[in-house]
C-alpha cells in the first residue's frame, strides 16, 4: 500500500529524560523515526524534553519543541502546530502514556489529530493488566494464574489460594517499577503497598511464580495489510524471574528446537495481529524447559529496549520501518535497508551469536540492594557479537568496564563456599562471575543448575571456559591453545593474568605468531545476499570482510555502556564528531559496544566496528584501518583511559595531547600548572594512609571533600564535616594504599560555575557559562544548571573566562575543555579541569547554537577557530533562560540514599526554557517529573548547620499558605519565629511519627538535610526513602528547595493582611 497523502504534518513524541527502564534506545528509535518520516516527505514536529539527544537536533526534525512532556504542554504544541497526526509508539512508555492522556482529555479529537501506528485500544489491551488477561483468555493463550488487586488484603487472600512465591507487578509503570517477587506474606504486603502507591491506576497484578522457565522474547512487526514478521527472537540466559532488562540475553535463541521456535513465533504473530498493532511489538514468553507448555508474560505494543537490541543484533532497523508502516507503507514494498536488494518483509538470519549484558549502577550505589528481580535496575547495557556463544559472552564481559575484563572478579575468590552457593540462589549482578568462580572450585554442573535454573547449555559453555582457563594456566605461550582460546573470546589480559605477564607482551607475541582476528559483516541474511553494510565484528576465523579503503580516515572511540556519570551526552558528542568527520571528507570509523545508542546505528558512520573498547580490540581495528589518528575526547573516561596504551603503541591521538590530559588528571601536575598560572584552587592534599589523611585534614581545615584519585562522576566522593566521619570514610569507603591515594580538598561553600570551551591552542571560544542552583558540594551532574548565569557579577564571569583561556592555552587544548569553578567569598577557585567533552556539551550546544563537538572535531583535523570565524572569549549570551534539571531513578533502586552530594546519582536530564528564570525552572522541574503544587504542606527536617537557613524557607512557605510540619529540633526554630508549625515525632516514636506523615500523604514536599552519610539505618535515610517510595518530592539541598519556592511564589498570590493604619481616635 502506498504511503498516505492525506496527512502532511506529524507530531512525534520522544521519551524524555533517561531513567532506569527508559534510556538511550529511545533516542535511537526516535531519531530513526523522524528521519524515516522526513525521508517520506512528511513534516516532522518533535517534542522531547531531553536535550542530550540526537533526535532534538534541528537537522532531525523540522520543528523541535524541548518542552516538558506533560499533557498540558503537548496540548499547547498541538494547538500551535495543528499536526495532522501523532506518532507516540517510538517514545517509550512516556509516549504511550501521553497519547492515552491526550486522547482521554479529548485533545486529539478536538484538533482532529489522528494517532498513527498502533491504536489506543490496542495499547490499552496490552498495557492494562485486566484487559490483557481477558484478551489472553479469549484467545485461549495461556497466562500464569493471576489476579488484579487494588488492596493489600485482596493480594494476601489470593496468595493464600495459589501459594508462594508470588510475583507482584504494578500496572502502568516503567521497567517494573515497584514490583517484585515475594516469598512470604510479610514481603507481599510491603511490595503490594508500594506497588499500589506507584501505579497510576492503583492496581497490582498478583501472579503465580513461574521462575525457572526459559524466558524467550520475540520482536515482531506488522503492517496495515496484516503482514507480520519476526525480526529476531532472543533467549534469556537468566530464567524467568529476572526482569528482561536485567537479564543477560542471547540472540538468536540457543536451546529451542524448531518446533518450539515456531510455536512461540506463531503465538507472537497471533498476538500482534489480534492487537491490531501497526509497527513494532515485543512479546515476552515463558517456556517450560520440560514440556511444550508456555505462558505469555507480556506484550509491549511499541518499540522498546529489546527492539533496539534486536535492531543492532540483526542489522534490521525496526524503528525506521515501524515509522514508515505508521504512514501506510507495507513490509513487502519497502526495501531491506541492509542489503538494498531484498525487501523488508523478511526474517533476518543470523550467522553469529549476540550477547547482551546489562550494566548496573552498583559500583556507584554500594548500599543498594543488588539482587535482581522483576524491577529493572540496570542503567545501560553492552552487546557483543561472536561466531560462538563463548566469544560473544567474553567480548561482552570485557565491554562492561566493571573493573574486570573476564569471567573473573578477584574478590570473589575470598567468598566461603557456603556464601558462594547462597549468592548463586538469588540472582544478582555478579551471578555470571559467581558461576565461573563455582566452576573454578569444581562444583558440579548439576549443583549450579539446581541453584540457578540456568539452562545446562549455557552452564556447559561456562564450565568449558573455566576448564580451558585452567589448561591455559599450565601451558603458557602455547600456540595451539592460544588459537583455541582466542576463538572462544579470551582476551590478552586474561592470558596475561594466567601467564603472569603483561598484556602488551601477549599482544606482541600474538601478532608475531599471526594470531589475528578477521572482521565479519552483519548483513541480516547470513551472507545469502550481497550486502554493503559497513557494520563489522571481529572473530578468529579465516576470511575477513572488512578492508581498509585508501581514503583519509579517523577512528572515533565511543563511550561504551550508559552508566551514572557517563550517559547519553557522550554518545551525542560522539555522533556529532562522526558527522563532522564525514563533512570534512574523512572516512569516519566508530568503535563502540552499546546497542542502545545512535552512534551504533550503522548509517551514522562510514564504518561501524561493534567491539569492546579495550586496547586489544581497538588496536586490531587500528592495525587494519591505519587511520590518520584516533579521537578520544568524546568517549568519556572509557576512551580517555585508553590514551596511554594507544600512545604507547604509536597511535596518533587527534586533538589535545596525552601530556595535556595527564596534566589535568594527575593531581601533582595539575597543581603545578595552576600554581604556574597563579590560579587559585581549594587547598588540597594527597594522603596514602588513614593516619596521614587525618593529619592533612586538620591542616586543610574542615569541612573537607575526600575522594579517590582518577574517577568519573565523583565516585566514592564525600564531604566530611568532622574527624569521626573521616575515620569512617577511610575505613569503609576506600581501599587506600600508596598506588591509590586519597585526595583531600578544602570544601568551599559557594556558588558553582561551569564552563565548556573549544580551543585550538590559540583561540579559546566559550559558548556559554552555567551557574548551578545548588552550591558547590553537590555533583555538577546532579545540580540544576542555569544558562545564562543569573547572579554572577560580570567581572567574575570575565575572570572565569580569563582562567579558562589561560588553562586551555597552557594545556594546548585542541578540542573541548570543561572547567568547574567555585565562587567563594569574592574569589574564584578552580575545582576541576576536564580536557575533553563533558556532560553539558549537548545542553550548551542546543541553547547557544554553537555546535561544539563539530567545531572541536574540525580543530582536531587541523582547522583553526579563526578560520571558522570565531574569536576568543565568551560568546554573547542568549536572552532566553535555559535550565538543565537532573532526573533520578531512585524509585527503582531500593536502599539507595537520595541525598545529593559530591557523588553523582542522576541518570538523566531535562531542559526548561523560557524568558524568566522562574518559568524556565518551572518547566524544568515539571519536565523532570516533580510536581509543583501551589498549596499544601511541607515537612522540614534539617541538620543543625542548616537550621538558620531553613527559617527563611519556612517563612516563605508559610506566606504562600503552606502548612508547616517539622521534627522537634526544626520545629523549635520555626516556633521561635512565631510561625505555626505542627511538630511530628521521630521515627522511634510509634505514633504520629514522621513516617506516618509521609505515608499518609499529608505533605507535598519533604525538605531533609539530616544525617548525610552512608548509613542506611539513620532516620534521615529512612525519611528520604519513605518519601521516594510514596512519590513525594524530597529535596535534600536547601538551594533546590529555594528554587522551587521561587517558582511557586511566581505562580501564586500570597495572602497578607493590610498594614495596621495609625488610627486617629477622636
Amino acid at each position: 500500500m502506498p504511503k498516505r497523502t492525506d496527512i502532511r504534518r506529524i507530531l512525534v513524541i520522544g521519551s524524555g529524560p533517561i531513567i532506569i527502564g527508559q534510556a538511550a534506545e529511545f533516542d535511537y528509535s526516535g531519531t530513526q523515526a523522524c528521519q524515516a518520516l522526513k525521508e517520506e516527505g512528511y513534516e516532522v514536529i518533535l517534542a522531547n524534553s531531553n536535550p542530550a539527544t540526537i533526535m532534538t537536533d534541528d537537522a532531525i526534525a523540522d520543528v523541535v519543541y524541548m518542552e516538558p512532556l506533560t499533557p498540558e504542554f503537548l496540548s499547547k504544541i498541538i494547538r500551535k502546530e495543528r499536526p495532522d497526526a501523532l506518532l507516540a509508539t517510538l517514545g517509550g512508555q512516556t509516549g504511550l502514556n501521553l497519547a492515552t492522556e491526550l486522547d482521554q482529555r479529548g485533545v486529539l479529537q478536538q484538533y482532529n489529530v489522528e494517532l498513527l501506528g498502533t491504536n489506543l485500544e490496542a495499547i490499552e489491551k496490552a498495557e492494562d493488566r485486566e484487559l490483557f488477561r481477558q484478551l489472553m483468555i479469549d484467545l485461549n493463550e495461556p497466562i500464569p494464574e493471576s489476579k488484579i488487586v487494588s488492596t493489600v488484603d485482596d493480594a494476601v487472600q489470593f496468595a493464600n489460594e495459589i501459594g508462594y512465591p508470588i510475583i507482584v507487578r504494578p500496572a502502568y509503570t516503567l521497567g517494573g517499577t515497584g514490583g517484585g517477587m515475594c516469598d512470604d506474606e510479610q514481603s507481599l504486603k510491603e511490595t503490594v503497598q508500594n506497588g499500589l502507591a506507584v501505579s497510576p491506576a492503583n492496581q497490582c497484578l498478583i501472579e503465580r511464580n513461574i521462575a525457572g522457565f526459559k524466558e524467550v522474547e520475540y520482536e515482531v512487526m506488522r503492517d496495515s495489510n496484516d503482514n507480520a514478521i519476526v525480526v529476531c527472537n532472543m533467549e534469556n540466559f537468566d530464567p524467568v524471574g529476572v526482569h528482561t532488562g536485567d537479564s543477560i540475553v542471547v540472540a538468536p535463541s540457543q536451546t529451542l528446537s524448531d518446533r518450539e521456535y515456531q510455536m512461540l513465533r506463531d503465538v507472537s504473530l497471533k498476538l500482534i495481529r489480534e492487537l491490531n498493532i501497526e509497527g513494532g511489538c515485543n512479546v515476552q514468553l515463558a517456556l517450560d524447559p520440560n514440556s511444550f507448555q508456555y505462558y505469555v508474560i507480556e506484550v509491549n505494543p511499541r518499540v522498546s529496549r529489546s527492539s533496539a537490541l534486536a535492531s543492532k543484533a540483526t542489522g534490521y532497523p525496526i524503528a525506521k520501518l515501524a515509522a514508515k508502516i505508521s504512514v501506510g507503507l507495507t513490509l513487502d514494498e519497502m526495501k531491506n535497508p541492509v542489503t538494498g536488494r531484498t525487501y523488508a518483509h523478511f526474517e533476518p538470519s543470523l550467522d553469529y551469536v549476540v550477547t547482551k549484558i546489562p550494566r548496573w549502577p552498583f559500583d556507584k550505589f554500594q548500599a543498594a540492594n543488588r539482587t535482581l528481580g522483576t524491577q529493572m535496575k540496570a542503567t545501560g547495557e553492552v552487546m557483543a557479537i561472536g561466531r560462538n556463544f563463548e566469544e560473544s559472552l567474553q567480548k561482552a564481559v570485557r565491554s562492561l568496564e566493571i573493573g574486570t575484563h573476564e569471567l573473573y572478579i578477584p574478590k570473589l575468590r575470598q567468598l566461603a563456599n557456603t556464601e558462594l552457593l547462597k549468592r548463586l540462589q538469588k540472582a544478582d549482578d555478579e551471578r555470571l562471575f559467581l558461576i565461573a568462580e563455582a566452576f573454578r572450585r569444581e562444583f558440579k554442573l548439576e549443583e549450579i543448575f539446581n541453584l540457578t535454573q540456568i539452562d545446562y547449555w549455557f552452564l556447559h559453555k561456562l564450565e568449558d571456559l573455566i576448564k580451558l582457563e585452567q589448561q591455559l594456566k599450565t601451558q603458557p605461550w602455547n600456540y595451539d591453545l592460544t588459537v583455541i582460546a582466542k576463538r572462544l573470546g579470551f582476551s590478552d589480559q586474561t592470558l596475561a593474568r594466567l601467564w603472569d605477564t603483561e598484556e602488551k607482551f601477549i599482544y606482541d607475541w600474538r601478532l608475531e605468531e599471526h594470531i589475528n582476528p578477521v572482521y565479519k559483516m552483519v548483513d541480516t541474511c547470513a551472507a545469502e545476499f550481497e550486502s554493503e553494510t559497513p557494520y563489522f565484528y571481529s572473530t578468529y576465523e579465516q576470511e575477513t570482510e572488512s578492508f581498509a579503503s585508501n581514503r583519509k580516515k579517523v577512528v572515533v572511540l565511543g563511550s561504551g555502556p550508559i552508566r551514572i556519570g557517563q550517559g547519553i551526552e557522550f554518545d551525542y558528542a560522539t555522533v556529532h564528531s562522526v558527522l563532522a568527520l564525514k563533512e570534512a571528507g574523512y572516512e569516519a570509523i566508530i568503535i563502540n559496544n552499546n546497542p542502545e545508542t545512535v552512534s551504533t546505528d550503522f548509517h551514522i558512520s562510514d564504518k561501524l566496528y561493534f567491539e569492546p573498547l579495550t586496547i586489544e580490540d581497538v588496536m586490531h581495528v587500528i592495525n587494519l584501518e591505519q587511520p590518520e589518528g584516533v579521537i578520544v575526547q568524546f568517549g568519556g573516561q572509557t576512551a580517555i583511559s585508553l590514551v596511554d596504551d594507544l600512545v604507547d603503541r604509536g597511535v596518533e591521538i587527534l586533538g589535545t595531547s596525552k601530556t595535556a590530559i595527564d596534566s589535568a588528571e594527575d593531581r601533582d601536575q595539575f597543581e603545578q600548572m595552576l600554581e604556574k598560572l597563579n590560579i587559585a584552587r581549594p587547598k588540597a592534599k594527597i594522603a596514602t594512609s588513614k593516619e596521614e589523611a587525618i593529619g592533612l585534614a586538620r591542616e586543610v581545615g574542615y569541612p573537607i571533600l575526600v575522594r579517590p584519585s582518577y574517577v568519573l562522576g565523583g565516585r566514592a566522593m564525600e564531604i566530611v564535616y568532622e574527624e569521626r566521619d573521616l575515620n569512617r570514610y577511610m575505613e569503609e569507603a576506600v581501599n587506600v594504599h600508596p598506588n591509590r591515594p586519597v585526595l583531600i580538598d578544602r570544601y568551599l561553600v559557594g556558588q558553582e560555575l561551569e564552563v565548556d570551551a573549544i580551543s585550538d591552542g590559540e583561540t579559546v571560544v566559550i559558548p556559554g557559562m552555567m551557574e548551578h542552583i545548588e552550591r558547590a558540594g553537590v555533583h555538577s551532574g546532579d545540580s540544576i544548571a542555569v544558562y545564562p548565569t543569573q547572579s554572577i557579577p560580570e567581572s567574575v564571569k570575565q575572570t572565569c573566562a580569563q582562567i579558562t583561556t589561560e588553562i586551555a592555552k597552557e594545556l594546548d587544548v585542541k578540542g573541548l575543555i570543561n572547567i568547574q569553578f567555585v565562587y567563594h567569598e569574592g574569589e574564584v577557585y578552580v575545582l576541576e579541569v576536564n580536557p575533553r567533552s563533558s556532560r553539558t556539551v549537548p545542553f550548551l550546544s542546543k541553547v547557544t547554537g554553537v555546535t561544539m563537538a563539530n567545531l572541536a572535531t574540525q580543530i582536531m583535523l587541523g582547522r583553526t577557530l579563526a578560520d571558522l570565524g570565531y574569536r576568543s572569549g565568551l560568546v554573547e549570551e542568549d536572552s532566553t533562560i535555559s535550565v538543565k534539571v537532573p532526573v533520578f531513578s531512585f524509585e527503582k533502586l531500593r536502599s539507595v540514599d537520595i541525598t545529593l552530594g559530591p557523588e553523582m546519582k542522576s541518570t538523566g536530564e531535562v531542559i526548561g526554557r523560557d524568558n524568566t528564570l522562574e518559568k524556565a525552572l518551572y518547566k524544568g522541574i515539571i519536565a523532570s517529573g516533580l510536581k509543583v503544587p501551589t498549596e499544601g504542606a511541607v515537612l522540614l527536617t534539617v541538620a543543625d548547620q542548616d537550621k538558620q537557613e531553613m527559617i527563611n524557607l519556612a517563612k516563605r512557605f508559610h506566606a504562600l499558605g503552606f502548612q508547616l510540619y517539622a521534627t522537634t529540633g526544626s520545629a523549635n526554630v520555626i516556633k521561635q519565629q512565631g510561625l505555626p508549625v505542627e511538630e511530628v515525632n521521630k521515627i522511634a516514636d510509634h505514633e504520629r511519627n514522621i513516617l506516618n506523615v509521609i505515608e499518609e500523604g499529608r505533605v507535598q514536599f519533604v525538605i531533609n538535610t539530616l544525617s548525610r552519610g552512608k548509613q542506611t539505618h539513620t532516620d534521615g535515610f529512612k525519611i528520604r526513602r519513605e518519601a521516594v517510595e510514596h512519590g513525594i518530592a524530597c529535596l535534600t539541598s536547601l538551594d533546590t528547595a529555594e528554587a522551587i519556592l521561587t517558582v511557586i511564589e511566581s505562580m501564586s498570590f500570597s495572602a497578607s493582611p493590610m498594614p495596621k493604619q495609625e488610627v486617629v481616635t477622636v
Binding site: N225, D226, N227, I229, V230, P252, S253, Q254, T255, L256, S257, D258, R259, Y261, Q262, R265, D266, P289, N290, S291, T330, L331, D332, R341, T342, Y343, H345, F346, E347, P348, S349, L350, D351, Y352, V353, R387, N388, F389, D455, Y456, W457, H460, K520, C525, A526, A527, E528, F529, E530, E541, Q542, E543
Partner: protein, 374 residues
C-alpha cells in the same frame, strides 16, 4: 578430534575437524541452508539427497536430536558442514548429540571451518561439487576425481517409497506421490483426516486412478525435475481427472507437464525466511524453502497456468494454478518443518478443492475431460 577437509571442485580446501561418521568418497553438491533452527528436519529432508549441506547458523546441535522431528527415516544428504557441532545438547526431548546421530546413520560431518566464507563462495560462484577427505595426499587426483564425477540424476528413485502403503483415515482419499516426501506433508493431510495412499514415484496414472482418489498430492523431492520423466507423464495423464496439489518438486512437475519450463538457480533457496507474495490477496508469507531449480517466469506465459505466488526478493515463480482445472502448486513448503507455518492454509485450500470437486459431480469432471482431450 581428527582433522578433516572439505575440498571443492575449484581446488579450495577448508580445514576442519571430523565429526559424525567416517568419510566415504562421495562427491556431492555443496549447498547452504540459512535456517537458524530445524537442523534435524533439514538432515532428514529427502530433498537434500546427494547434497552436502552447509548450515549458515554457526552452532548446530544445541538442542540435540529427538525422536519426533524427523522428516524421513534415513537422512539422504551426503555430508553436514558446520562451524560448531554441539556435544552437550540441552533440550527435554534430546536423545543424542548430532554427532552420535550422524555416526549412526553413516553421514560424515566436518566442523570448525569458516562456513560464512564458504557460503559467500557459493553465492558468488554458484553451487559447486565437493568432497570430504581426511588427509591431503594425492590432492590433484582427488580434485580431478571431483571434477569428473557427474552428479547423479536418479535421486528421486533413491528416496521414493519402494512400494505403496496406506495411512488410513475416514476423510477424503488422497494419493500422495512420493518423490522424496517430507513427513510433514503426510502429517498435514492426516491432521485433516485424509485417507492417504503413498505411492512410489513411478506409479502410473491408471494405477493412481484405480485408488479412486479425491485428490492427488505431489510431494517434494531432490534434483532436477526434468530427470523425473515418470512424474511429468503422470501429471499429463492425470490433468483434469482429480484435483492436484504439488509442493516443491511436485510444483515443478506440474509446471513442466503443463508446458512451462524449469531452470537451475545459481545457488538455490534454502532456508526458513523466504518472503512470498500471494498475488490475489496482496498478503506476504514467510516461507520455508529448499530448491535448486525454479519454474521460469516467461515460460508460463504460453501455458494454461497462472502465477499465484511470487518471491518478493527475486520475483521468481513461487506458485501456480491452472486457469480452469483444480490444480495448483507451490515452490515453497507449506508443511514447514522446519520453518514458519504462514502458508499452512494451503492444505485447507486443497481439501476445499477436493470437496468442491466432489460436490460439483460428474458434469464438471466431464467438461474438463473434454477440454483436456480436445
Amino acid at each position: 578430534m581428527s582433522k578433516r577437509y572439505l575440498l571443492l571442485e575449484d581446488g579450495t580446501i577448508y580445514e576442519g575437524r571430523a565429526f559424525g561418521a567416517e568419510i566415504n568418497d562421495y562427491v556431492g553438491e555443496v549447498v547452504f541452508q540459512t535456517g537458524m533452527t530445524g537442523y534435524q528436519e533439514t538432515l532428514s529432508d529427502p530433498s537434500y539427497c546427494g547434497q552436502m549441506v552447509v548450515m549458515t547458523y554457526p552452532l548446530i546441535g544445541n538442542y540435540g536430536i529427538n525422536r519426533d522431528d524427523f522428516e524421513t527415516v534415513r537422512p539422504a544428504l551426503k555430508a553436514l558442514i558446520v562451524k560448531e557441532a554441539e556435544n552437550y545438547p540441552s533440550n527435554f526431548r534430546s536423545e543424542m548429540s548430532i554427532s552420535q546421530f550422524l555416526s549412526q546413520k553413516g553421514v560424515p560431518g566436518i566442523e570448525g571451518i569458516d562456513t560464512r566464507s564458504l557460503v559467500k563462495k557459493i553465492r558468488r560462484s554458484g553451487t559447486m561439487k565437493g568432497i570430504l577427505i581426511d588427509d591431503l595426499a594425492n590432492l590433484d587426483q582427488v580434485i580431478d576425481y571431483v571434477k569428473q564425477t557427474a552428479l547423479p540424476k536418479d535421486q528421486v528413485s533413491q528416496v521414493s517409497a519402494a512400494k505403496p502403503y496406506v495411512v488410513p483415515g475416514r476423510g477424503l482419499r488422497v494419493v500422495l506421490v512420493d518423490y522424496g516426501m517430507k513427513h510433514g506433508i503426510l502429517r498435514e493431510l492426516t491432521e485433516r483426516g485424509c485417507h492417504i495412499t503413498v505411492v512410489p514415484y513411478d506409479t502410473t496414472a491408471d494405477e493412481v486412478m484405480q485408488l479412486q482418489p479425491d485428490g492427488i498430492m505431489l510431494s517434494n523431492g531432490p534434483g532436477d525435475p526434468k530427470d523425473v520423466l515418470q512424474g511429468i507423464d503422470l501429471v499429463e495423464d492425470l490433468l483434469g481427472k482429480v484435483p492436484i496439489f504439488g509442493i516443491c518438486l511436485g510444483h515443478q512437475l506440474i509446471s513442466l507437464a503443463c508446458g512451462a519450463n524449469t531452470e537451475r538457480l545459481k545457488f538455490g533457496h534454502r532456508g526458513a525466511n523466504h518472503p512470498v507474495k500471494v498475488i490475489e490477496t496482496g498478503e506476504a508469507w514467510m516461507t520455508s524453502q529448499n530448491h535448486g531449480y525454479t519454474v521460469s517466469t516467461e515460460s508460463i506465459e504460453h501455458t494454461k497456468l497462472k502465477v499465484t505466488h511470487q518471491a518478493i526478493n527475486d520475483g521468481s515463480v513461487e506458485g501456480v494454478e491452472h486457469e480452469s482445472l483444480p490444480i495448483f502448486s507451490v515452490q515453497f513448503h507449506p508443511e514447514s518443518s522446519p520453518g514458519p507455518s504462514d502458508a499452512n492454509v494451503l492444505f485447507d485450500h486443497f481439501l476445499n478443492m477436493m470437496k468442491e470437486n466432489k460436490l460439483g459431480g460428474v458434469t464438471s469432471c466431464q467438461k474438463e475431460q473434454i477440454f483436456v482431450g480436445s
